[in-house]
């Protein structure tokens, strides 16, 4: 499996470093979901940031729920406000 999944709160400076970016794939998503390269460095990072492991389906569900919420918020905007914002779109995690 190329990637693994977790939730973790971005705590700011040092949350992910240049060295981390060299050592494993990392991509953040709504809901504090992180897609992490499934190697020793990636797993070590999840432990370092006190991440909570998720299955891909669980991670996808969190992202979908966040985007659903953003879509509801977008739909509630006035037409003028919608025109100057971008409607969120669901997507599939890698």
């Amino acid at each position: 499996m190329a990637n693994t999944y977790c939730t973790a709160t971005n705590t700011g400076k040092g949350f992910f470093t240049h060295e981390d970016r060299q050592n494993f794939f990392l991509a953040g998503h709504p809901g504090d979901v992180w897609v992490v390269g499934n190697n020793a460095a990636g797993i070590s990072w999840i432990n370092r940031v006190s991440g909570t492991a998720k299955t891909k389906a669980e991670a996808q569900a969190i992202v979908d729920a966040e985007i659903d919420e953003a879509i509801v918020a977008f739909d509630a905007l006035t037409a003028d406000a919608q025109a100057r914002n971008i409607k969120p779109v669901k997507y599939t995690l890698s």
């Binding site: 700011g12 400076k13 470093t17 981390d20 100057r84 971008i86 997507y91």
Partner: protein
Amino acid sequence: MATYKGIQGYKVEYLSADPPDSTSVGQLWYNDSGSGAFKIGTSVSGSWSAGGALNTARSMMGGTGSQTAALAFFGAAPGDPSGAVLVSEEYNGTAWTNSTSGTSRRYNGGSIGQTSTDAGYAGGYGAPPPPLGKAFTEVWNGSSWTEKGDLNSGRQGFFGGAGTTTAGLVAGSGPADGATETFNGTCWTETANLITARQYAPVTGATQDAAMCVGGYGVPAASPYSNGPGSRIGITETWNGTSWTHVSGTLNLGRISAALSGTTTAAIIAGGSTGDPAPPTTTTATAETWDGSSWTTVGSLGAAEEEMGSSRTGGNTTALSFGGNPGGSISATEEWTDPIYTIKTVTVS
């Protein structure tokens, strides 16, 4: 026992302290004869790392300064009655600190200035009643905001700007009519329009006479750059103080509302909303660097974002992206550094 000099014909240099990272690449040395360890300097391609979080999550804000001394100002924030914030924040390379507030709540305004002590915010969306596109200008001197002359027309949909608070420039805003205005510290003057009118198009530049406008949307259907209604384009125009010129370098991924930092000869753009050649749009994490003639895809942001603020100086080697919107305003900051210098220890025993 064979020695390094006996095998290679050279002695490894002894240094009492490591040399600076940037000058150590390719060098081999040791510090402690008893450790049995050599050190070697290396460099690898750039990447984005996490920086300190803004105190107020926001998007569509102004930004100036460098990776280690930046300013974030104004912007949109959910929860505020007007949807916009006033408080400024200063970054020291590690953390953001709240600073003095401006007086006119706006977001999506044009930001001029190059340092954390010289910034200006022009136009942008304001609170109702309509017209929502404002013309106000406020200038920051490092300690307070002062109102200056208005833009010649209420405008919004800016991302960035160029020059300083005594010689600035904004362009790439809505309505997508290509309007460009220059600022002399007191008032704004309309000047030559962009060749390809567009809005939400990032702008950067060190001076009023050397700016660039990249990407955007709202391009008229008749334009050869249009890929259909709402498409995000990747064209680049440069400004020489008199007129805009289309240059051949085009973004590898057309985008709007991205973080753009640097100059007409060295810049980096990251994130934004894509949809090239056509919608549906998505938020991207990708980044590209500009060397004065072409864009090259480089390491991506840690998370896909759009509508961020950005630093202004640092060329294509250092930059900041802060705040933004992946479905709601956020506080995250990311720091770009290229190359990454590392001193590695090589154990030989």
